[in-house]
Structures are given as structure tokens and as C-alpha cells.
Amino acid sequence: MSGLIDTVLQGVMLGGLYALFAAGLSLIFGIMRLVNLAHGDLIVLAAFVVLVVTQTLGLDPFLATLLSMPLLFGFGYVLQRVLLNRTLGRDIMPPLLVTFGLSIIIQNGLLEVFSADSQRLGAGAIETASVPLGGGVAVGTVQLLTLASAVGVILGLKLLFYHTELGRAFRATSDDPEIAQLMGIDNRRVFALAMGVAMAVIGVAALYLGMRANFDPTIGPARLLYAFEAVIIGGLGSFWGTLAGGIVIGVAQTVGGAINPEWQILAGHVAFLAVLVLRPRGLFPRVAD
């Protein structure tokens, strides 16, 4: 029994990681209907940024992430302003093609600079620390922090979206970009700010990606897939739904993996397909649109 509880708990916390992957993707799609195929590679890129900051300044990964976030925000802002804004329009193909190309450029750029070696963000003692929950069940501190950070990020995004002027502009632009301009909202700037926020969130995702397991320049596309699945399971446009979606995949993976280690990845994808069949609009579809 405690074995099952343990497995499910691990899955829930793994779901936190997938929710972190998905939050940025969901934010970008929600505001500007941009499907960012480079999202996974941006997570890996951010992990390398955190790695470099960790190594050059001799900081622990948490502090390095905090330092990297403004940098990543600026990168996202410029990326949107200079490149991605130009791809937005009635046609959905240009953003798909451009972000697909970006994905390849990021992967190969990282390979050139960092080689194909596996990297890891070493955090010292906290990596092996755990929190006992009683009944013989304990959870890893990093695992628990992953979930807590996912909840924190989602609360933060909720706060930004529903209690600030910028959040109102995000929602208004998402609703009706034409009329939003008539309110004095510069859509291009709002989109750039949204990409900046998404990159900052990606920084948090990158921290846990790099602390929980090894990473190398080629693992981005698989993270993109998990992020997509989490967003779609949760229902497009719902932040809490994204967390639920991440947890569904996480639990399916750990339970599948406990039955047969070969089933771990497969179980996550099967759970995604099952949700699509039963609830095509996701678990928490938005009422409007």
C-alpha cells in the first residue's frame, strides 16, 4: 500500500515539473495564439544559461536561476520583438516554421558550444535530502520543491493576469487584438512582455530539469511534447488545468514505470490519448471561445 502511495506521490511531484514546462507554453499560446515549437529547446537553453552562471560565479543553482531570470526575460522580450512578432498574422504557418527552425538552431548552437556531453546542475546536499511524511513514506526535497515551485509559478501568473494592468492587457489582447489596440495597447510590446515572462518561467523549469536529471542539447523536443500534452489535458488557457495535466502525465508515468520500467514513457502518452478521447477539450476547458 505504501508502495502505491509512494509511486503516486512521486508522480504528482513529477507532474509539477511537467506543469513548469507547460506554463510558459500555455501563456504564449493563450495570449498570442503562437505555437512555439522551440519551447523545449528554450528550456534546455535556459538550463545551460543557469549552468554557466553557476560555474562562472560559483553559485548554487537556486541563486543562479534567480540571477538568470532577468536575463532570460530580456532574451524573451528581444526574441519576440525582433523575430516572432513578424511571424504573427492570420496565417498560422509562419510561426510554426520559424519556431521549428529556431529549435534546430538552438540545438545545434548548444552542441557547438557545449558539445553533446551530459550536464547536471549540482546542488549539493539538498539533492539527496528528503522529507518524511510518516507511514514509511518520504519525498525528496528537490521533488517537493518542484511541485511547490509549479504551484508558486501558477499563483504568480494568476496574480499577474487577474490583478495587474498588464494582466488585463494580456487578456484583452487575447480576446480581441484589434479592439485592444483601440484601448492604447501596443500589441507588439504586450506580446514581447509575455514572451519575457514565459522565458522567466522557463528559467524555473530549467532549474529543476537540470537538478533532477542529466541534460544535453538534444532533449528539448521531448520536453516540448510533455508540455503540449499537459496543456491539452488541462484545457487550453487554464493555468490550474495545466498543473492538473502535468500531474496526470506524471502519475501515469510513475505508475506505468512501477508496473514495468519499459512502460514509463508510454504510459504518459497513453494517458494523454485517453483524456483526448474522453474529454477532447481537456479537463478544465475555458468557458469562452
Binding site: 488585463r168 492587457a169 480576446d175 479592439i179 485592444a180 489596440q181 469562452a288
Partner: protein, 233 residues
Amino acid sequence: MALLETHRLTAFYGDFQALYGIDLDLDAGETLAIIGANGAGKSTFLKTVTGLLRAEPGGVVLDGRPIGGLPPAEIVRLGISLVPEGRRLFPSLSVEENLRIGAYGRREPGYWTLERIYELFPALVERREAPSQTLSGGEQQMAAIGRALMSNPRVLLCDEISLGLAPVVIRRIYAALPRIKAQGASVILVEQDIVQALQVADRVYCFQEGRMSLTGRPAELDAKRIHTAYFGT
């Protein structure tokens, strides 16, 4: 000098020309009505003035300054605000958020504040937290006008504000007009309801197939001339 002028203003949707050289002027404190049949170019005119459609720089002049071709966000900052056809409130924003976003990015104080909008349209007070889509048509129209006023415009453009509303509701909305004008806004109304338009306007412009077909003061215009200008011969 007029507050707002257009000079030989043209507008295109792709290859299709929708406006063929419109000359119009609006004096400070004036109310203009633009009437015309469906497809005459009335809404296109408003979209071009607000920057949603491209214009030549000198095509639109506000207070002596050419503003044609500026982005819409900049034009609203300069003092031209539109109440769009069909209300177009933001569905994922509450009524109050819709009003607040009308003042997006502006810090300078003006006459119109949330409190004064609620005073103008008391019906909105108890619906302030409601999602905008749950409002009745009349309430939505009030919210859309309030949203446009929140930027404290010098020129308020209203596109078909009586469309689809009951006569009693239309009267209530038009009753707000004198107070809006008293605060210094000049108004351009696009209306299909000619009687309503003639009642409140100082001058009337009639559009026909993208061209100006008639202009004058309501008292100078008889029904026959309006009929011809409206439908053609």
C-alpha cells in the same frame, strides 16, 4: 480651425477601395452624424480615422497635426476614441475591467473616472463584477461607451450605438450624450437610424458607396434630398 479634419481620405480592403476621397471637418464641441446605407463606408471611415485601416499621413488631421497612418494605440493617446460597432467588449474581462482597460497606460487625470462612468450609467454599478457577456445589449452598449470615455477623448466616435436595442434603451443611452459633450468631447455618430441622428446632430454627412453624397444642417435638409443621398436615384 477644425478639431478633426479628413482630406480626400481613401481606404482599401486589399484591392477593394471602400472610401473615395472623404473631406470632413469636426469643430470643437460639435456633434456630427454620418448616415448612409449598409456598405456606404461609414464604419470604414471610423476605422481609418482610428488607425485600424491605413491612411495617408495628411488624410487625417487632429488639431492641425497629421495623424493618418499612426498606429491605433498612439491615436487613442492623442484623443480619439471609438465605440466600435457591435460593442466588442472583452469577454474574459469583467465590466469594471473593461472600463479600466479603456484608460490603459494613462496616468494623467481627466474628467472621466470609474466613479463618473457609474454615475453616468447607474445600471452598470451592480453589474461591475459580472462577465461582460452576461450583460443585456443596452448594458453592454453603456459599458462600451464608458470604456471609450475612460481615455478622456477629445473626439468620441460612436459606431451604430442604437443597433439592436429597444427604443426605451436607445433613449436612455442618448440621454447621456449632453453630459458627455459638456465635458468637452466632440462627437461623431454613425447611425442607420436617421431620425435619431437628425435629432442630436449639429451637422449631418451622408455617405453613398464610399463618397460623400450630402452634407448640411438637419434643418436645411428635407426628406427628399436625404432619400436621394441615402439610396441614390
